[in-house]
Every structure is written in structure tokens, then in C-alpha cells.
């Protein structure tokens, strides 16, 4: 009986604010504390920005489907796109001591979420699955 919320946007950076607002509320429904919510929002925003920049190479009218599932013990967020698929091995964060603009997104996603799984180049497109354990109830 997982609760499910899906947000479908186009690959236009203007849409990120809509996605962030929705994810903020999802985080509240899931019972996360405010700072945790804002980190989850950041992880989703980074994943979505990467799809816009890398999978769709800046094209603005391509579909991105973000599905949030509130499972009994965890929040799962799946990002789905139909863009350019990169070898999963190549998607990695740079060393943090290499100071240059860029290369931070994947590192951020991985340090915030418990699991970050790329399933690129499937018949139905690219999937990015992010999971985070729900906070313990008091």
C-alpha cells in the first residue's frame, strides 16, 4: 500500500522549481525533518539537472518523469528519461579536491541518498533510482 506521486515535466530548467515544491511536500508526508527534506530536494534537483544537461543536452521540451513512492520503510524516487544514455560506469563524481566548476551533482546525490542506482539504456529509456530510509517514528 505504498503512496505514489508522479510529477511529469519537460526538460526545461524553469520546471525545476515546480519539482522542488512537490518533493518538499513529499518529504513532509514521509515525515523527514526540514534539513533532511531540503537535502532530498537537492538530490532530486541535481538528478533532474543532469538529465536536462547530459541526457537531453539542453533540449527543453523532452519528457522527464519523477515518481515518488512512499514505502513502509523508505522513500523511493525514480527519475525516468528517454534521452541520450551514457555508460553507467562513466557517471561518476570527480575527486572533490579537484577544484573546478562542475562534477558535483553525482557526489551530492550519493552523499544524501542511501542508494543511487543508474539503469541506463533500457528499452524504455534511462532510470535513476534513489532510496532513503524513513526517519524512525518517535
Amino acid at each position: 500500500m505504498a503512496k505514489k506521486i508522479e510529477v511529469r515535466i519537460t526538460s526545461d530548467p524553469q520546471m525545476l522549481s515546480v519539482l522542488r515544491a512537490a518533493i518538499t511536500q513529499v518529504g513532509q508526508l514521509a515525515g523527514f525533518a526540514p534539513m533532511e527534506i531540503s537535502k532530498i530536494v537537492l538530490a532530486v534537483d541535481e538528478a533532474c539537472s543532469n538529465i536536462m544537461r547530459h541526457a537531453y543536452k539542453g533540449k527543453k521540451n523532452q519528457p522527464i518523469i519523477v515518481t515518488c513512492k512512499l514505502k513502509p520503510t523508505k522513500l523511493e524516487i525514480v527519475m525516468h528519461d528517454f534521452g541520450n544514455s551514457v555508460d553507467v560506469e562513466k557517471i561518476k563524481s570527480r575527486k572533490l579536491n579537484d577544484l573546478r566548476p562542475g562534477g558535483l551533482g553525482v557526489h551530492i546525490m550519493k552523499s544524501i541518498m542511501d542508494r543511487v542506482i543508474f539503469k541506463n539504456g533500457t528499452d524504455e529509456g534511462n532510470f535513476l533510482i534513489m532510496q532513503k530510509a524513513l526517519p524512525k517514528r518517535q
Binding site: 522549481s17 577544484l99 566548476p101 551530492i108
Partner: protein, 114 residues
């Protein structure tokens, strides 16, 4: 909606006031404003993030670029008044070690070689 950026020129420094979310959509505006200042070799740039409720890595990348440009002419580049969740982005990426970060303009002025 879109970002509001105001430049205040003081005697000893230039304050770049940013208002709004800095993300993939809006960070090009920050970049433009910053590079305008670094091109003029502005000696001290304080970036006021008091009214920035949200920043993602595209915003951070833009600030890294500003810092690097500023370093080239030995200018001073400092971030002030970060909200907790924005500060967190710098901590997650360990960039809080690389940027000069102060709790407000006064602290930046008191601590720096302005």
C-alpha cells in the same frame, strides 16, 4: 520567480546581493553578474546569500568560477549570510574549506584583509 541581483559598491568592497533560488535556470544570471565584477578586477567581492533559500551545484559551480577569476588577480572573494541548508551544500561538497565563508558582512570585514 526569476532572480533579483543587486550590486552595492561600498568604499572598501562590493556587495553582490542575490535574492531567489540559484539553480540550473537562474545561475547564468549570477555568473554574468560575477564575471562583470571580476573582469573589472574588483578587489573585494562579498556575495550576500541571505536571501537565497536554495542553491544547487550549478550555483556552487558558478561561485567556484567567480572565486577562481578573483584569485587570478589576487582579489578577495567571500560568501556571507548563508542559510543552513545552503551552507549544507558547501559542506556536502567540502567546499566550505575552499571558500571564505562568514556569518555576515560585519564578520567578513572584521576578519579579512580588506
Amino acid at each position: 520567480m526569476s532572480l533579483n541581483i543587486k550590486v552595492q559598491t561600498k568604499d572598501q568592497y562590493v556587495l553582490l546581493n542575490i535574492e531567489g533560488d540559484v539553480d540550473l535556470y537562474s545561475s547564468p544570471d549570477v555568473r554574468e553578474a560575477l564575471l562583470k565584477l571580476t573582469k573589472k578586477k574588483t578587489p573585494t567581492i562579498l556575495v550576500n546569500l541571505e536571501k537565497v533559500p536554495y542553491m544547487d551545484s550549478s550555483g556552487v559551480a558558478t561561485l567556484i568560477e567567480g572565486l577562481q577569476q578573483c584569485n587570478k588577480y589576487q582579489g578577495r572573494f567571500s560568501l556571507v549570510s548563508l542559510r543552513d541548508n545552503v551552507r549544507e551544500v558547501f559542506e556536502l561538497t567540502r567546499l566550505d574549506k575552499i571558500f571564505e565563508i562568514h556569518k555576515d558582512v560585519n564578520e567578513a570585514l572584521a576578519n579579512g584583509s580588506v
